[in-house]
């Protein structure tokens, strides 16, 4: 599963159960985020033992983007038996603060800031 555009790409590696985000996500509103939501939901619906979101290379994420990540974390929490890992980078200014809030939605979420 992959979405690739001029500004960003999202690739799900089934082997490592990891969704890798790259570039800048600055789509306008939830409608434009729908393809990404679909991709993430497809991943969750297969109920893997672990879902890892690798956001290290995601340089920019707007407010709608953080909303879809929050909703996805809630969805995974509600499914109940999936271990979730979010990998971020201390070098990307928004990641340190915003990603920590995802742990409040799912306390068992592992947040790795490299």
């Amino acid at each position: 599963m992959e979405i690739r555009t001029q500004n960003y790409s999202i690739y799900y590696d089934k082997l490592t159960e990891t969704a890798i985000f790259n570039g800048s996500l600055r789509l306008s509103g939830m409608e434009e985020y729908d393809p990404i939501v679909q991709l993430l939901n497809q991943v969750a619906d297969t109920q893997p033992s672990t879902i890892t979101l690798n956001l290290r290379e995601l340089e920019f994420l707007n407010s709608s983007g953080i909303n879809i990540l929050s909703k996805f974390v809630i969805k995974v929490r509600q499914i109940g038996n999936i271990h979730m890992v979010v990998i971020g980078s201390k070098e990307v200014p928004w990641q340190g603060k915003s990603l920590k809030n995802l742990q409040r939605l799912m306390p068992s979420l592992d947040l790795v800031l490299e």
């Binding site: 929050s70 603060k97 915003s98 809030n101 995802l102 939605l105």
Partner: protein, 325 residues
């Protein structure tokens, strides 16, 4: 004992428990006995009649009571049936209420969790939005290479600070400097090395300024500092400190030493050298030009421009016209 014959020939024995009379009773005595016996019979008859009335009354009363008891018993039975029906209905209602309560509690737990999730999401989105706005704002007002403020921000800041200085009758210092022979440096080591130098100078400036001061990258290798509430003498001292500090920077690129750099600095001060931002910057720029002309690696204040006018015949004509000190 007296035997009395009745018309239907039945025989009553009266006074059977009366002691036998003496045979020698006279006729009068017998009549008296008979009279007594008649009285006794009458009394017995009345008592019997009374007893029969009493029996009738008691029986009727008892019948009434029995009837009442039966009616009451029937009523009680009916009431009991009704109460049992009500109890069963109430138990059903209670069971339904308990089920509804459990359902509501479950619903409440879901709604509470959803509410908590939404609150966290809202807080996350708001904080993220603020952070992104801050980053974008910084991108608007800062130079990405050095992290210093950019020229646009400097213009706005300088106008605000000059107005404040005017109101509060406070001086304001301005330092403009650029890196000596930067083009030659770029040509020798490459533009990436040049960027490293610019970034290092930016870092040094950030660490050197006080709270109310601002440092900005004014152009390519040109920098500017605005020092509110600082007079000419102090501004000049700060300029000398910068010159000395930058000269001591240990610069390297890809682990290779780049050698030292020097800077030339021009200093001007409000109100003596200009009353607007543009004037102040232009005067400081002329002082910088003079510092370059005098051999670089030095500080020149606007105060010296009159004297230096004589010494620097190479001062461009357009600058001489603009700033006829």
């Amino acid at each position: 004992m007296v035997k009395i014959e009745k018309p239907d020939n039945s025989i009553f024995v009266i006074g059977a428990n009366i002691k036998p009379m003496q045979p020698e009773l006279s006729r009068e005595q017998l009549l008296e006995v008979i009279e007594n016996l008649r009285l006794e019979v009458d009394t017995l008859k009345r008592e019997k009649a009374d007893l029969e009335i009493l029996l009738d009354t008691t029986t009727a009363h008892a019948d009434n009571i029995v009837e009442m008891l039966q009616a009451t018993s029937l009523q009680l039975h009916e009431s009991n049936k009704q109460l049992q029906a009500e109890i069963a209905e109430r138990q059903r209602t209670e069971a339904a209420l308990r089920a509804s309560q459990l359902e509501l509690q479950s619903l409440l737990a879901i709604v509470s969790r959803d509410k908590a999730d939404l609150e966290i999401m809202l807080e996350t989105a708001t904080q993220h939005g603020d952070l992104i706005e801050e980053l974008l704002h910084n991108q608007c007002i800062r130079d990405p290479l050095t992290g210093l403020f950019n020229r646009r921000f400097l213009g706005d800041f300088l106008e605000r600070e000059l107005n404040r200085s005017l109101r509060q009758q406070q001086p304001l210092g301005a330092i403009v400097f650029d890196i000596d022979h930067f083009k030659r440096f770029n040509d020798t080591f490459g533009h990436d090395a040049g960027d490293v130098v610019l970034a290092e100078v930016g870092r040094f400036l950030q660490n050197s300024i006080c709270n109310s001061d601002i440092a900005c990258r004014y152009g390519g290798e040109e920098f500017m500092l605005i020092l509110p509430e600082t007079d000419l003498e102090t501004t000049k001292q700060r300029a000398e400190q910068l010159r000395d500090g930058i000269k001591r920077l240990k610069l390297e690129y890809l682990h290779q030493p780049l050698g030292g750099i020097t800077v030339s600095l021009g200093v001007a001060c409000f109100p003596e050298h200009g009353s607007t931002g543009a004037e102040l910057i232009q005067v400081a720029d002329v002082a910088l030009y003079r510092a370059k002309a005098l051999g670089r690696d030095r500080v020149v204040t606007a105060k010296c421009l009159n004297d230096l006018q004589q010494l620097i015949p190479s001062l461009p004509i357009e600058l001489q016209k603009k700033f006829p000190f």
